[in-house]
């Protein structure tokens, strides 16, 4: 996203996902990529190739994430109030898969939204 560190992001979406119980595990139905320990230049979804944030790389069909409205390419900014812009990949996974939480609130930015907001601001 055209995200300048230190500047507020203009368009965020709040997505609430209810985890689905599958046997032993609670799954959310999407895959994440990125993190401060990963190589940002290989991220296909980020606009700025130095962005080390967590991105949604895949959303499984009919899963809780898709139902809640999460889209592929979204950048996750917060999970239940915890910041996700400066975390390692493993930390992000842990924050999302806490067994004690059944519902997670994600704060997510989307490029298409960002562009739409900018266009509406300009016009």
């Amino acid at each position: 996203m055209s995200y300048i560190p230190g500047q507020p992001v203009t368009a965020v979406v709040v997505i609430e996902i209810h985890k689905l119980r599958q046997g032993e595990n609670l799954i959310l139905g999407f895959s994440i990529g990125g993190g401060i320990d990963q190589d940002p230049s290989q991220n296909p979804f980020s606009e700025d190739k130095t962005d080390k944030g967590i991105y949604v790389t895949r959303v499984s069909e009919g899963g809780p994430a898709e139902i809640a409205g999460l889209q592929i390419g979204d950048k996750i900014m917060q999970v239940n109030g915890w910041d996700m812009t400066m975390v390692t990949h493993d930390q992000a996974r842990k924050r999302l898969t806490k067994r004690s939480e059944e519902v997670v609130r994600l704060l997510v930015t989307r490029q298409s939204l960002q562009k739409a907001v900018q266009q509406s601001m300009l016009s």
Binding site: Q38, R93, L96
Partner: protein, 530 residues
Amino acid sequence: MDTESTYSGYSYYSSHSKKSHRQGSLLFFRERTRERHKSPRNKDGRGSEKSVTIQPPTGEPLLGNDSTRTEEVQDDNWGETTTAITGTSEHSISQEDIARISKDMEDSVGLDCKRYLGLTVASFLGLLVFLTPIAFILLPPILWRDELEPCGTICEGLFISMAFKLLILLIGTWALFFRKRRADMPRVFVFRALLLVLIFLFVVSYWLFYGVRILDSRDRNYQGIVQYAVSLVDALLFIHYLAIVLLELRQLQPMFTLQVVRSTDGESRFYSLGHLSIQRAALVVLENYYKDFTIYNPNLLTASKFRAAKHMAGLKVYNVDGPSNNATGQSRAMIAAAARRRDSSHNELYYEEAEHERRVKKRKARLVVAVEEAFIHIQRLQAEEQQKAPGEVMDPREAAQAIFPSMARALQKYLRITRQQNYHSMESILQHLAFCITNGMTPKAFLERYLSAGPTLQYDKDRWLSTQWRLVSDEAVTNGLRDGIVFVLKCLDFSLVVNVKKIPFIILSEEFIDPKSHKFVLRLQSETSV
């Protein structure tokens, strides 16, 4: 191969690939004079008949002209032959040879005096210098023995030390100065002359002092006199040290890089030298020329000249506007027209070169196969087997002669197409073959000398074509080398252009990397499903 079994020699004839049906002709080797245009060639032998034609070597006239040989039979294919530029025959002398011989004669007489003058001066001075200390200590006892104070162990000790120092000086001078002259230089070698002058002045001043203070006044103190002589020898040793530094050590550290380009084909080499005078640098370049540059082959250069001549030949300038003497205007017009003219000479060149390469490769393949097959037959006889050898036992020369005929034709054809035929006579090929057989070389090792042109030293001395060089330079040849100097070394056929460049001042700094600091991370882009 069909004709090889009766070969006893090696022939030079100019139409090649069509004569494969020759049978049983006796052929032999002959070189021809330089000709630059097509001329009706006279051939040896005949085609396709089983006959033997013997051609005795005819005494050819000076500037031997092939067309005057009438007793030879004309071949079917003589009209299709191409003329190759050849060297001189063994029985005729070409114009160039005459020039060379006369030049050799006149030069060797003139310069001898100059050479020997320097040598005699130096040796006379050396003798004088060597005998001076001995004279210093011998003269007082001879002249005024009675008045001399006796001088005991100290003097004897000094005598011994002086004897050894003189011996060391003698050996050092012999090692440094008495070496065979490598070359004739155009000008005097400045440092050597300076050193000789220095030594001369030094010794003269010592003699002066000795003559005035000791001989005239008949000094009694013999020990002082001996010490004076020993101090002379010490100083001579130091001058010898100075000579070593100036003459030998100073030019060892490389300061300049010389680029040497041959004017005829652009082959270039680079040499590193230290502080030398231009004439000494020229000498180094020439000594390396004989071992580094491939041999100068004038046969390879004719094609480009023909092309250039053809290019400009077709243009004529007509003066339409009346008589005007505009020479530069005319020549400029000609050059412009020649440049604009759409001729296809580049096309010709391209196809000609491609065709030539193909032919060369084909002949090379035939040659390699022929040589390999020939070498198979030769087997080295072990020492134990020598007594009970079944067939005839041959020495290397005979073995070479035995297998030579089977590869002679392929080799000759290859040499002719690469235009090297002047540089390899049959005798030299046989010698090389015997050499390779003696040392157990493979066919490839034997062939390497013929497949690629080697340096000039590899060939016979009479092929070197020149050992007389002229140094052409703007500056005095005894000046030292400097960045940007260009001088030219000319010989009869070509010239070497030498460009001097200074080796840049190198700034080298140090950087320390702790071996423990070599750490690496894996950068991944992993995807986890949650």
